[in-house]
C-alpha cells in the first residue's frame, strides 16, 4: 500500500504525516504526532474517549480514516487551554469533581466545548443528550453535568 503525505492543521499548527490514508486519525494523532491526550477506549465509536473536533465538528477519531481528514483543522485536548490558561470547561471540571480516573475526560471536555459552542446556556437535558456518546464508568455522570452547567453560567 502506498504511503501518502497528508496535511492537517492540528491545534492551529500545520502538520504533515506520511502514512497510509486508511489509518485511523486517532492513531496518527497519538503515534505520529505524539498527542496522546486523545484516548482509545473501544475502537467502535461507542465510548467517545477518542473525541476531537474536525473542522469544528465533534468526531470520533477512531472511526475517521486520516485520508478523510486531509486539509482539516483538528482540535485535540492539547489545544484546548488558551495560552497555558485552563479553559472555563476545564476549570469547571476541576471545581465540580467532573474528573475521577480521567480517561474519559479529554473526550468529555471536547464534547462539552462542542455543546457550548452551539448552545450557550444548555439545560441539564441538553447536556445529557450532548454527552450521551461519551461513556464514563467512574462518576455516574452527575458531576460531569454539573461541571458543564457551571461552565455555561454567564459569569463563569
Amino acid at each position: 500500500m502506498s504511503y501518502q503525505h497528508i496535511s492537517l492543521v492540528v491545534n492551529g499548527v500545520p502538520r504533515v504525516v506520511e502514512t497510509v490514508p486508511m489509518r485511523r486519525l486517532l492513531d496518527v494523532l497519538r503515534e505520529d504526532l505524539h498527542l496522546t491526550g486523545t484516548k482509545e477506549g473501544c475502537g467502535e465509536g461507542e465510548c467517545g474517549a477518542c473525541s476531537v473536533l474536525v473542522n469544528g465538528e465533534l468526531a470520533n477519531s477512531c472511526l475517521m480514516p486520516v485520508g478523510q481528514a486531509a486539509g482539516a483543522e483538528i482540535l485535540t485536548i492539547e489545544g484546548v487551554s488558551e495560552n497555558g490558561a485552563a479553559h472555563r470547561v476545564q476549570k469547571a471540571f476541576a471545581e465540580c469533581g467532573g474528573a475521577q480516573c480521567g480517561i474519559c475526560t479529554p473526550g468529555m471536555v471536547m464534547a462539552s466545548l462542542y455543546l457550548l459552542k452551539r448552545i450557550v446556556h444548555p439545560s441539564r437535558e441538553e447536556i445529557c443528550e450532548a454527552l450521551a456518546g461519551n461513556l464514563c464508568r467512574c462518576t455516574g455522570y452527575q458531576k460531569i453535568v454539573d461541571a458543564v452547567r457551571a461552565a455555561a453560567l454567564p459569569d463563569s
Binding site: M1, S2, V20, P21, M22, R23, R24, D27, G43, E44, G45, E46, G48, S51, E57, L58, A59, N60, C62, L63, M64, P65, G67, Q68, A70, A111, Y114, L115, E129, A130, L131, A132, G133, N134
Partner: protein, 288 residues
C-alpha cells in the same frame, strides 16, 4: 485494532465523476462516506473489502434540495444536517426523529443517510421512516442513472438492488399534503446510542375516523427493513375501532419474522411491535 491497515487503500474523490470512474473500473473499489460502519469493521478485523473511495466531500452528495414536490437528500448528508433542516423537521418528522436516535453526537456528525441505507442492516434507524415517507433512491453510475422505490430496494438480508459500479447519490422524499399524523418509536438496548431491538414508523391520513391512507414500517423484525403492506391493508379505508386495531395486530404478527439474536428475542420483538402499534392506534381512537 485487528486489521493489517497497510493492506487497505483509500482515495478521496472530490467530484462525482471521479468517484464513478473508480466504481466502474472493475478493480473492486467501494465507496466510504462517514465511516461509522466500515471503520468499526476495520477495527474488528472484519472489513473484507480492501479498496475504498471516499465520497464524503463530493458537493452534490452533501446537499439537501427543496423543491415544490420533493426533498432531495444527498447520500453523504449527515444525521446532524437532517436534524437541523427546517423543512425536513416540519414535514418528515420521523426521519429527523430517527436521525436524533442514531448514535451519539459525534456519530451523528460523521454518519450519513446513504451509509445507513447501503449498510443495509434491518435495524437501521433511518429505514422505517424512509419507508413510510415513500422514499426513492437515485442510483448513478458511468452508465447512467435510475431511481428505485426504497420499498423495493432491499432484496434480502444485506442484499440491495444495486450493482458494484453504482453509487447511491440521492434520497428523494415526495412532499405530502398537510394533515398526516406520524408516530415513531425505537426500542433500543438503552436510552441513547443504542442499536434498535424493534422500531416502528407509522404515518396516517385520517378522514374523520376513517384511515384514508396508511404507511407502516418496522425495523429489526425481518431480514430487511420492512414495510408491512398486509397490515396496512387491514387498516386502509377502515374506521378506527377496537376491532380494526386488533385485526391489524393479528395480521402484523403473521407478517413480521423477527429472530433471536445477541441483543434480543423474536418473542420480545413481536410483542413490542404489536404493543406499540396497538397503543398508538388506541390513543388515536380515544382522542377522537
Amino acid at each position: 485494532m485487528r486489521s493489517y491497515v497497510p493492506d487497505y487503500e483509500l482515495r478521496v474523490a472530490n467530484r462525482l465523476d471521479e468517484a464513478l470512474s473508480f466504481l466502474a473500473a472493475g478493480e473492486d473499489w467501494s465507496p466510504i462516506a462517514g465511516g461509522t460502519d466500515l471503520m468499526v469493521l476495520l477495527n474488528a478485523g472484519k472489513l473484507f473489502h480492501r479498496r475504498f473511495v471516499s465520497i464524503k466531500s463530493i458537493p452534490e452528495l452533501r446537499t439537501i434540495e427543496v423543491s415544490n414536490d420533493l426533498i432531495s437528500i444527498g447520500a453523504a448528508v449527515t444525521y446532524r444536517q437532517i436534524r437541523e433542516h427546517p423543512v425536513l423537521h416540519g414535514e418528515f418528522p420521523l426521519l429527523c426523529q430517527a436521525a436524533s436516535w442514531t448514535g451519539g453526537v459525534a456519530n451523528q456528525n460523521q454518519g450519513t443517510l446513504g451509509g445507513n441505507i447501503v449498510n443495509a442492516s434491518p435495524a437501521a434507524d433511518s429505514a422505517p421512516p424512509l419507508l413510510v415517507h415513500d422514499a426513492r433512491v437515485r442510483l448513478i453510475s458511468t452508465a447512467g442513472e435510475r431511481t428505485v422505490r426504497y420499498a423495493d430496494f432491499h432484496r434480502g438480508y444485506k442484499n440491495l438492488q444495486m450493482n458494484a459500479s453504482e453509487l447511491l447519490c440521492k434520497i428523494e422524499l415526495p412532499r405530502r399534503r398537510a394533515g398526516w399524523k406520524y408516530f415513531g418509536r425505537k426500542v433500543g438496548t438503552r436510552r441513547a446510542q443504542a442499536i434498535s431491538k424493534c422500531s416502528i414508523a407509522l404515518a396516517l391520513e385520517l378522514d374523520s375516523d376513517v384511515l384514508a391512507e396508511v404507511r407502516l414500517a418496522l425495523g429489526s423484525v425481518a431480514p430487511i427493513p420492512m414495510r408491512c403492506v398486509k397490515t396496512e391493508e387491514a387498516l386502509r379505508g377502515k374506521n378506527l375501532r377496537a376491532a380494526t386495531i386488533e385485526r391489524a395486530c393479528e395480521i402484523l404478527r403473521t407478517e413480521i419474522a423477527p429472530i433471536d439474536d445477541i441483543r434480543s428475542t423474536a418473542a420480545y420483538r413481536a410483542l413490542v411491535a404489536e404493543n406499540l402499534l396497538s397503543n398508538f392506534l388506541t390513543n388515536l381512537y380515544d382522542a377522537q
